[in-house]
């Protein structure tokens, strides 16, 4: 999950898509954002660097499985972040090890999971690049805010640039509407403009719902807390659509 813009619902989508994917396979959710919001979405809060992703990035000898929180939801394990990740990233960047750090840290774990979902912070900085370099596919989101659409196309340009540099082979598999306000003209205008860019606009639109902020407060993604709601159904549909887009399941 990436966007060049913050506040567009990345973490909520990441948490719910991860929970939806866990219905049919083993999932590891990885928080690559020092704001540690993905962990908090599941009620997981790291105490410091030593029990979070930062420990794995900083020291390759740390046992990855010891840092992973197991079964935070059915079928779902979680590798949390901590604000100290910022300092770890700065240190790694100085030594040239940051870009490949997330990929190296996750390698011992990959065999245990069907899907790994990485959440990033709302920028296209070096830590986000490190997450992209660990990924096969990138999903981004937009809202009725035109700035979020700009964020999506800037991400596409960012991926193109770093494929050229061979930092990554990840492809943009989809641009999804994270907060669809069906009554609002702005949402339609933004979606219409994005459709004209040629980016892979996904057909699933997550409806605006009061259940979502409530689920964040309850530390339980809405896919788990209100599984029969329309918004949960949309997240499940989005996860299915992403699987098709990545070629993991046939259309």
């Amino acid at each position: 999950m990436c966007s060049s813009k913050g506040g567009v619902g990345k973490t909520t989508v990441a948490a719910n898509v991860a929970a939806a994917l866990a219905r049919s396979g083993r999932v590891l959710a990885v928080d690559v954002d020092p704001q540690d919001s993905l962990g908090r979405a599941f009620g997981v809060v790291a105490k410091g660097r030593d029990d979070s992703l930062g420990a794995l990035l900083e020291d390759g000898s740390v046992e990855a499985r010891a840092v992973v929180r197991h079964a935070v939801a059915p079928g779902l394990d979680l590798l949390p972040a901590h604000p100290s990740l910022e300092a770890v990233a700065t240190q790694l960047a100085a030594t040239g090890g940051l870009t490949t750090s997330v990929r190296r840290a996750l390698r011992p774990l990959l065999g245990e999971y069907d899907h790994v979902v990485l959440d990033t912070r709302g920028d296209l900085g070096a830590l986000t690049l490190a997450a992209v370099c660990a990924a096969d596919s990138v999903l981004t989101v937009f809202t009725s805010d035109p700035g979020s659409a700009l964020g999506a196309v800037r991400l596409a340009a960012f991926l193109e640039q770093h494929r050229t540099y061979e930092n990554t082979s990840a492809v943009l598999v989809g641009v999804a509407c994270a907060v669809w306000d069906r009554q609002g003209r702005a949402a339609r205008d933004v979606a219409g403009a994005l459709a004209g860019t040629g980016l892979p606009l996904l057909s699933t639109r997550v409806p605006l719902s009061r259940r979502v902020p409530s689920s964040v407060l309850a530390k339980r993604p809405v896919v788990l807390s209100s599984p029969t709601s329309a918004v949960a159904a949309a997240y499940v549909a989005l996860a299915d659509e992403v699987l098709v887009a990545t070629g993991k399941v046939p259309a």
Binding site: A149, V153, G174, D189, G196, P200, S203, V206, A230, A234
Partner: protein, 88 residues
């Protein structure tokens, strides 16, 4: 000073598209695995009725479909009653 008039909504989308195209990589190799067909509406979970009072606007008895096609709107006098299906 003349206030700036709001631009037509269609122009807003065109303007944004121009802004986006200025940023999109010219030869982006992003795949397009999913057709950008009009999306299906989110599954409705609950019927909803909304009543609006418009004191300054009085209309005779009328019935019709809302502009977004999501509801039936019945109006009489200052009341607008909207029956629709909304995602929750």
């Amino acid at each position: 000073m003349t206030p700036e008039l709001p631009r037509h909504a269609g122009r807003l989308q065109d303007d944004l598209l121009q802004d986006l195209r200025a940023v999109v990589p010219a030869h982006a190799s992003v795949p397009v695995p999913v057709a950008s067909a009009p999306p299906p509406p989110p599954p409705p979970s609950a019927a909803a009725m909304e009543v609006r009072v418009t004191p300054g606007i009085w209309t005779g008895p009328s019935a019709g479909v809302s502009p977004d096609g999501a509801a039936i709107v019945v109006g009489v006098g200052p009341l607008q009653i909207r029956f629709g299906l909304y995602g929750r």
